[in-house]
Symmetry: C2
Subunit: 116 residues, 2 copies
DNA sequence: TTAGAATAATTCGGTTCCGAAACAACAACT
DNA sequence: AGTTGTTGTTTCGGAACCGAATTATTCTAA
């Protein structure tokens, strides 16, 4: 199970992906923002500010500010939890899904181009 | 040649790597800084400020500031080019090599853990 | 019902980053 | 020599980010 990568190939893969992201990404997400976005889209809901802060091991204001920025960019949206109105549920958007799909294609292509 | 990844696996790989980096990395390199570091260590020398700026398609001050930060952290070092003293040659360090080796291991492990 | 806990957001001061422009040092060429 | 071009750095104002503390809202449980 899984993929066997040499150390060299692992670094080259990281290099190629990073270069593509620096080139293409006008959104310029920080590592934390990207991690939040990926978590919201991949892991099973619900996603709260507190849960995300624990998952990433950062403070809650960091999550709040990251959500502010990505909400403005339309990459995800907030909704109040009607069960417990203290909670904010972070939800996906079409724009966010498209953005991550582009990112996934970068990874796909760079992995496919690796000289094994 | 290369590795075939589904879109889902590509995203999960990115997610797992990002999460590890956010967790472990006290150095907290920006995407640009990481890309510079990987370029210096992987591509064939010499590496100049101008060359790196062109490669990443960013301005030269961005490179200068990134080199400042990473020099302080000991991840790489600058040396004047004796052939053309306008140039600064960016060179590797032991600390930088160790840092990238740790990063490569993260990628290796997360790729190995993928459910294909 | 009321005191305490939990949640997310906001404020605060300080730091860092950015892009554009100006700058200093050096090279190349007439 | 002198002029022009190149290279890397620095400066400047504005914007973004951070951690810690505070606030407002909501829930929980005595």
């Amino acid at each position: 199970m899984g993929i066997e990568l040499s150390l060299s190939n692992a670094l080259w893969l990281l290099h190629d992906i990073s270069l593509d992201i620096v080139h293409d990404d006008d959104k310029d997400l920080s590592p934390r923002q990207l991690t939040i976005l990926l978590t919201v889209y991949l892991e099973t809901p619900p996603h709260t500010v507190r849960g995300l802060a624990e998952k990433l091991q950062v403070s809650k204001p960091v999550i709040t500010r990251a959500l502010d920025a990505m909400s403005v960019a339309g990459l995800l949206k907030r909704r109040r939890d009607n069960e417990d109105k203290r909670n904010v549920l972070v939800q996906r958007t079409v724009a966010g899904a498209l953005y991550l799909e582009g990112l996934a294609e970068i990874v796909q292509n760079r992995a496919a181009d690796l000289r094994i």
